[in-house]
Structure formats: structure tokens, C-alpha cells
């Protein structure tokens, strides 16, 4: 198993985030989350729903990268034109995404960095669907590079997604749908199971210490059981390879390191 890559370990961890989620739309944005959702559907959680990345629901997860336009096998239909009605605003979805910043409250930012809203230093995508996703359905996150630039001190520059920050919550609002699940990075797996939903490290990737993670994070972390993140087994690796025939996963984490960190 020494040739398992860190990206493959992260995909395996991502699939665990979708375990037992039931009949909801699993959306993985980016290669690792998408492969994680596909792996979950093809192994422990076949009831998951997912799209081909465009608008059709598929029961066979669509492989990454170049293929024929009609290769997807359409089983259902979930276009953007009814995405909010069907998936988001009914809470029937779990998305795993990669924001630009995240803070101790699980608030995320995809909109802008620095400056003011009138004149940002760096304009990014815009909030996209993050405000709706985070108030209505479960969300998890994947970060290929765990640094203090991503896990910021203080709060994110522009709060694009709801977190567990009481000061940001307008009184009388219904926040019962807010459900931040897992954070998977190149160093560890975390959740929001700490005191008052604080971020907590639950497993460390092979060869990584809690101190390594804390040093790369701009706010204090809590400790969970701190087990070692499990490696994917041979069956999981075979499915990952089948869903990613062009090995796009090798380009996700810098230098595509092995799962076992060499110090």
C-alpha cells in the first residue's frame, strides 16, 4: 500500500463524508470531492443521487475528464432551472466544495479578498450558491493545501456561507438547516464537533502530527480522537482509477505526494 497517494487517501476520506446520507444529491465540486461522492455511491451508499456535472441525474457516476458527450447514462433530470426547488431549498443535498477561506466558525468566503466590497483587492467568483447551500443543506469542504491563508485568523474577508458565529445570526431566523460536516485537507480530517461547534481534528493523515496541523491553521483547534486517517483498500483504489481514467487526481495536491508523509 506504499504507493497510495495522498490524493487517493483524501478521496477515500471524502467518500466517508457521504456515508449513510440517504436519498439526497451528493455534489462534489472538484476532482477529489467528486471522486469521493462517486466512490461513496459505488460502495457503501448506493442510494445517493448525483448529476453528470451538467443537468442529468446518473446512477453510474460519470468519470472525470475527456470522454464522449453521450457516454453518460441518463436516469433522471436535475437542471439548474429547478435546482433550488428540488435540491437546495428542500435540504436534499450534501455538497463538498473548496472555498478560498474558512474561519473558526465555519464561515466561508468565495467572493473577494481584501479591500472593500466596493473595491476589492482581489475579486473572486462571487458568493455563487453558498448562502443558500449553507442555510439549507449539509456541506463539507476539501482543501488541497492546508495553510493559514485558507484557515484564517479572525473571520473570513466576506462571509459567503453561514457558519456557527452567533454574532452573524440575525435574531429570529431559522438556522436549523445549518449542518457543516467534514473538512478534509492534505493534512487531516476535521469536523465541527468541538465546544460550541468549534473545529476539531478527528484524524491525522499518516506521518502528520496535531502540531503540524495547528501550525498551518490561523485559529486554535480542538482535539478529537486523533486516529490515523485510514488508507483506501484495493477495491476502493480500483474504483477510483475507474472513475478517473486520466489520473486527474494526480494534479490536485502539489507534487502528488504519497499518503505516508516522509519527514
Amino acid at each position: 500500500m506504499t504507493d497510495v497517494t495522498l490524493a487517493e487517501l483524501c478521496i477515500y476520506a471524502a467518500s466517508e463524508a457521504f456515508r449513510g446520507n440517504g436519498e439526497i444529491v451528493a455534489t462534489g465540486v472538484g476532482p477529489v470531492p467528486r471522486l469521493g461522492a462517486g466512490l461513496a455511491k459505488l460502495t457503501h451508499t448506493p442510494e445517493l443521487m448525483m448529476t453528470d456535472g451538467e443537468c442529468y441525474l446518473v446512477e453510474q457516476p460519470v468519470p472525470l475528464g475527456p470522454r464522449n458527450y453521450d457516454d453518460r447514462k441518463k436516469a433522471g433530470y436535475l437542471p439548474f432551472s429547478r435546482f433550488f426547488d428540488s435540491a437546495v431549498w428542500t435540504g436534499r443535498r450534501h455538497a463538498m466544495v473548496t472555498p478560498t477561506q474558512i474561519d473558526r466558525f465555519g464561515q466561508i468566503n468565495l467572493s473577494q479578498l481584501g479591500g472593500t466590497h466596493k473595491q476589492p483587492k482581489t475579486q473572486m467568483l462571487g458568493v455563487r450558491g453558498f448562502p443558500g447551500n449553507t442555510i439549507y443543506h449539509p456541506n463539507s469542504f476539501f482543501f488541497p493545501s492546508h495553510t493559514t491563508r485558507v484557515f484564517v485568523e479572525g473571520e473570513v474577508d466576506m462571509v459567503s456561507g453561514v457558519g456557527y458565529n452567533p454574532a452573524k445570526r440575525i435574531a429570529g431566523g431559522n438556522y436549523s438547516g445549518v449542518a457543516l460536516k467534514k473538512i478534509i485537507t492534505n493534512l487531516c480530517v476535521m469536523d465541527f464537533g468541538g465546544t460550541d461547534n468549534a473545529v476539531r481534528v478527528v484524524s491525522l493523515h499518516p506521518g502528520v502530527t496535531f502540531q503540524d496541523v495547528q501550525a498551518a491553521t490561523g485559529f486554535p483547534l480542538e482535539k478529537g480522537d486523533l486516529v490515523e486517517t485510514p488508507l483506501p483498500d484495493a477495491d476502493a483504489l480500483a474504483i477510483i482509477a475507474q472513475l478517473d481514467p486520466h489520473n486527474i487526481r494526480a494534479s490536485v495536491i502539489k507534487d502528488n505526494p504519497p499518503a505516508q508523509r516522509v519527514s
Partner: protein, 292 residues
């Protein structure tokens, strides 16, 4: 007047400075780019643009036509950050109302139904309400829930690119996803439609496809045939997006970085000139559909 045929120049001639204009499509998909190019050839200014933004928003900002943008994102998908929009934002030259993608369509629906707002949970717990000056309302029922009042996004005009229309404005819209084009059409005082194919009477040509009539002709003010008119965005099933063209457009934001120096390449003196410069309608029709 039941014959709604116009030229692109007629359509742009009906718009005026300071108007709020909605543009259909989504990012690099189904954008009425030929109408946007015609707008870029005009002297219109101080526009408020309401769009699920792509190069339409980027070009209009680059050309200095825009006072305000209402957006949830501006992106070219494979080129995630729209470079010309980014330049305009970072120069501080735009007013903005930034909203969530779902709030955006909710605002179009409020406008379509003539309501001042529609209530939603979306936006609570984020910076959107404070930055956008969005107000809250309280449910008058026993739950007493506090909700954000998403204001109606009333449009003076909407521009939409469809697959087929007849001269009365009976449209047919294909492709796997029609995004929120229906709601742009209904949110607007006047909707102008460009199409890949114009026929005289839809019932004589494609009666079997009548269920693809995405919005009824009472929502259509003007129609023009502009095949290839979504280029460089995608228009399934006719053609995919032109990522090479988007790349060139994107690169030009860095070098030379000056719109007036490159506008001719991306807009052209006329639509015919533009199409010639990219190899004609045949080249557009040959663009493969995108794979996700």
C-alpha cells in the same frame, strides 16, 4: 403588432441610458452575445446589468457601459474568474448588488409576479444583507420567523438567445438546461429574443416541439434571427462554447489589458465582420458540446 421581427440595431435602439437590463443564460452558456455585441457598438451607458454573468458582463464592464451589476457570480467555467469583470471590480468602478444564485432567481420571480419582494432564509448569517442593504420581514403567523425580503429584480429589458422563434415570438428552447431564461422574460417590461432559426409560422414547421415553448409570446417584444449568436458561449444542441476564444479574450485582459485596443477583435464593426473573423457560422456550428 404581431410581426415582431427587428434587426439587432432596432433592438438596441429601443434601449436607453440608465436602463436595467437582464441578460439570459448562465456563465459561458446560452448568452445572447450577438445582441450584447450590438449593445457594445452603441453609445449606451450607465446601465444596470442583471445576469448570471459570463463574458457578457465582462465585456460590458470593460467597455465602460455599466454603472451597476447585480450578480451571484461572473465566470467562464474553465476560466473561473472573469478577467475583465475582475479588473473593473478591482478598479472600484462598479456599484454592485451581490446575491446568492437562488435569491437571484427569486428576485426575478418577484418581479414577474409584480411583488415588491419574496421572503427567503437565504442570505441570513452571511454578509449579503448588510452589504446589499437587504431588509428583513417577520412572518405574521405563529412561527414568527425572520426572513430576508429579496427585492424584485425588475428589468426594463431582457435579452435572451433561443433556438427557434417565429415572427410572432413563439419561441422554442432546447438544450439540456434552460437556466432562468423564462424568468428573465417575465421579469422584464420588454424582452428581446435572438434565435438560431427564425420561421414564419411555428405551427407550420415544428408543431411537434410545442412543449419546448419556454415562455409564451406575450412576453416577447422583438425577435431577430442571429444564428451563431451565442458565440463564444455554448448553445446546445447547436454548438458548444469556444474555449479558445474565451482564452484569447481572457489573455487580452492582461496583455494589453486595455479594452479599446482589443474591442475590435471581440466585438467587430458589425456582426458579419465578427463572424467572418472567427471563421464564419460554419466554424461556430462545428464547436463540440462541452463535457462536464
Amino acid at each position: 403588432m404581431l410581426d415582431k421581427r427587428m434587426t439587432a440595431a432596432d433592438i438596441v435602439g429601443q434601449l436607453s441610458d440608465g436602463m436595467t437590463i437582464g441578460i439570459g443564460g448562465w456563465g459561458p452558456r446560452r448568452k445572447p452575445m450577438a445582441l450584447v455585441r450590438e449593445l457594445l457598438r452603441s453609445n449606451l451607458k450607465d446601465l444596470t446589468i442583471v445576469a448570471y454573468g459570463g463574458a457578457d458582463v465582462g465585456m460590458l464592464c470593460a467597455a465602460g457601459k455599466v454603472k451597476k451589476v447585480v450578480f451571484a457570480f461572473v465566470s467562464l467555467d474553465a476560466i473561473p474568474l472573469e478577467p475583465w469583470f475582475r479588473k473593473a471590480r478591482e478598479a472600484g468602478q462598479l456599484e454592485v448588488l451581490e446575491v446568492d444564485e437562488g435569491m437571484f432567481q427569486w428576485g426575478l420571480k418577484a418581479a414577474a409576479f409584480g411583488l415588491p419582494f419574496l421572503p427567503t432564509r437565504v442570505g441570513l448569517g452571511t454578509d449579503l444583507a448588510a452589504l446589499g442593504g437587504l431588509k428583513t420581514v417577520t412572518s405574521p403567523y405563529a412561527d414568527g420567523e425572520t426572513l430576508i425580503a429579496m427585492p424584485a429584480l425588475k428589468l426594463d429589458a431582457a435579452l435572451i438567445h433561443v433556438n427557434r422563434s417565429d415572427w410572432r415570438g413563439n419561441v422554442q428552447v432546447f438544450g439540456p438546461d434552460v437556466y432562468y431564461d423564462e424568468w428573465f422574460a417575465k421579469a422584464a417590461a420588454k424582452t428581446y429574443v435572438s434565435c438560431e432559426e427564425l420561421v414564419d409560422r411555428m405551427e407550420d414547421h415544428y408543431p411537434d416541439d410545442a412543449q419546448f415553448n419556454l415562455f409564451e409570446r406575450c412576453f416577447v417584444t422583438g425577435v431577430v434571427e442571429l444564428s451563431g449568436g451565442a458565440h463564444p458561449s455554448s448553445m446546445p444542441p447547436h454548438y458548444g462554447w469556444d474555449m479558445k476564444a474565451f482564452k484569447a479574450y481572457s489573455d487580452a485582459a492582461k496583455d494589453p489589458g486595455d479594452w479599446s485596443a482589443v474591442a475590435d477583435r471581440f466585438v467587430g464593426a458589425s456582426e458579419a465582420d465578427y463572424l467572418n473573423s472567427i471563421g464564419g457560422k460554419e466554424a461556430v456550428a462545428a464547436l463540440p458540446l462541452p463535457i462536464f
